[in-house]
């Protein structure tokens, strides 16, 4: 552990994650993109192979930075039928832990519950563990990698993951 990293507290990380959650819950995706490094990745592995690599395993989502940019263009387009009207989202994040620091990189994990409500009151609870690699950025952080691990045995009942989980 380096000296610079030792200043980081769990509260610093929590503040950042709560702020990110608010942006995602409110579909402020342009602002959310500002939280990403230029090489950021976003992964949702399949629930039957959570430890797999997206290079040899079929994921639900495996976006590099450019794909994230395209995902946002798509999801904000009024012709993205799966998100029209937009799902109402409410994320609860807890059990935040700092797992490892390496220079200006910080590995963290947390539990999340993302409540999703679509029209016709069909909804779902996406429950899981989030693993982030954060990069120090002045007094705050940028996201280098976000990996969302879903706990459910079967994704079926949750339907499409057409929002940013």
């Amino acid at each position: 552990m380096t000296n610079t990293a030792s200043h980081i507290t769990r509260a610093d990380i929590e503040d950042f994650l709560f702020m990110e959650a608010d942006l995602l819950d409110h579909w402020q995706l342009e602002e959310w993109q500002n939280l990403l490094t230029e090489d950021a990745c976003y992964y949702v592995p399949p629930n039957d192979c959570l430890e797999g690599s997206h290079r040899d395993t079929l994921f639900i989502i495996a976006d590099d930075r450019e794909r994230i940019r395209q995902r946002i263009i798509r999801v904000m387009d009024p012709n993205c039928h799966a998100e029209r009207p937009k799902s109402r989202l409410s994320r609860i994040i807890s059990n935040v832990r700092i797992l490892e620091t390496d220079g200006d990189l910080i590995k963290i994990s947390a539990n999340f519950v993302c409540h999703r409500f679509r029209r016709y009151e069909r909804g779902g609870e996406y429950v899981g563990k989030m693993h982030y690699i954060l990069k120090r950025n002045g007094a705050s952080f940028l996201i280098k990698e976000r990996r969302m691990l879903l706990k459910s045995h079967e994704l079926g009942s949750l339907g499409s993951v057409s929002f940013i989980l």
């Binding site: 997206h54 993205c80 079967e154 079926g156 339907g159």
Partner: protein, 428 residues
């Protein structure tokens, strides 16, 4: 309910085809389907590559029936009902694994992985009439494969799988030929998604190229943003940048057959893959030409197709290879399972490219599938008015000859409905 009349109006003279919307909402229809369709047809179970070693197994629900799809100690691929012969409990609760024996937790009966009943606790309490040899795990009446695609059939009088598939085998061959050793494998990771819609709507959706511009404008936009040429259609009736046909394969099977514009891992480069991939794709293509000759190589590499094996298996041989099966869970709900398939000898980078291409379109987090799901759910919502607005219109392309039926016509959808309608009229 036995039925005299048709669920379709098929008027060749006027060129009109209408479908009775009751087929998507009626519990009676679903009950008849389980007898007349799912208990008569060959239903896809899994791919042999999912069972690498003796003892490997997957439990899955196939057409409402819990089954064990496994490889026994001798290496033989097996399919059993996941139901204890004693009192009926499932004998394997794990989704996947490797086991020599399946063990019923209720009273401890255990079965070898070839299905034989191995052990019954307290066996001395039974009479001589109790015959363990007769009490192995039961399975479907028939279980056969074509090129390692395994199907079950509940009807002992069913034709062989090869006869059933008929001309569809040619299109499965086109998939398998993408591998130099003719060995394809299912990749790790399963996509699953439930759709609040009747299962037959997924059959239509999987091959209906008419819906692409409206349902998937955001995907077409993404392809254009990624440097893929999205030229306007050049011919009348054409919807997409390149032309494609719908082809009748008999027995209710059919396929689209399109000139490719969206890239293929084997082997048609598009800018989306990145410049660094160009050389490797050229190599994959040279191997195809060398092995299959230039004409067949072009057929494999430059055309894409969405194949429907009646009633509920789709092989999307497009920007990746998808095996998609779906099963009714009630009249207005289906579960969809999708796997990615690739050549066993594929390099690490080609494999990664294949998976990436898969995700650009397909799956619950893809850039297109979620909008398909939404469209089908919107259909099911709208069908609540079925009794007052009874018929779906499916006549597109009926004025043209069979040879001129495009992927964006409804010719292939009508093939499905005619076959389905004929089977529903038979005495089960």
């Amino acid at each position: 309910m036995s039925r005299q009349g048709s669920y379709v109006i098929d008027d060749h003279e006027k060129g009109i085809f209408l479908l009775d919307r009751i087929v998507h909402v009626s519990e009676d229809v679903l009950r008849d389907e389980m007898k007349n369709i799912f208990a008569k047809c060959w239903i896809y179970v899994g791919h042999g590559s999912e069972l690498k070693k003796p003892g490997d197994f997957h439990t899955r629900k196939v057409a409402g029936r819990p089954v064990i799809f496994g490889r026994d100690q001798k290496g033989v691929v097996q399919c059993f009902f996941n139901t204890c012969r004693h009192r009926g409990a499932i004998v394997c609760a794990d989704r996947t694994g490797n086991a020599r024996r399946f063990f019923c937790v209720y009273h401890g009966w255990s079965y070898n992985n070839d299905g034989d009943l191995a052990r019954v606790p307290g066996e001395e309490a039974y009479t001589e009439a109790f015959d363990k040899k007769q009490l192995g795990l039961k399975g479907p009446a028939k279980f056969e494969n074509y090129r390692d695609f395994w199907f079950l059939n509940l009807d002992p009088n069913a034709p062989s799988l090869k006869d059933y598939l008929g001309k569809a085998t040619e299109y499965i061959d086109l998939v398998v030929e993408q591998s130099p050793s003719a060995k394809m494998e299912v990749l790790p990771g399963t996509q699953e998604y439930a759709v609040a819609a009747n299962w037959k709507l997924m059959v239509e959706n999987s091959v209906d190229d008419y819906h692409l511009p409206s349902t998937h404008s955001t995907w077409l936009n993404f392809m254009a943003n990624s440097g893929v040429k999205m030229e306007a259609p050049t011919e009348p009736n054409q919807i997409l940048p390149t032309k494609g046909y719908a082809v009748d394969l008999g027995n209710g099977h059919f396929t689209t057959d399109n000139v490719n514009f969206r890239g293929r891992p084997v082997a048609k480069w598009i800018p989306l893959y990145g410049e660094e991939a160009e050389a490797e794709i050229a190599d994959i293509r040279s191997e195809l030409v060398e092995r299959l000759g230039p004409e067949r190589a072009t057929r494999v590499a430059d055309t894409n197709r969405n194949l429907v094996i009646f009633p509920n298996l789709v092989i999307n041989d497009g920007s990746s290879v998808t095996i998609r099966a779906f099963y009714p869970e009630g009249v207005d709900k289906m579960n969809v399972v999708a796997w990615a398939l690739g050549p066993v000898e594929e390099s690490e980078s080609a494999r990664a490219r294949r998976l990436d291409a898969f995700l650009t379109f397909y799956g619950p987090g893809g850039f297109a599938t979620p909008d398909d799901v939404e469209a089908l759910e919107m259909v099911q919502k709208g069908l609540a008015n079925w009794s007052d607005d009874r018929w779906s219109e499916m006549s597109r392309g009926m004025g043209r000859s069979e040879e001129e039926q495009l992927n964006s016509d409804e010719f292939h959808l009508r093939l499905f409905w005619r076959k389905w309608d004929a089977m529903m009229k038979e005495e089960a």
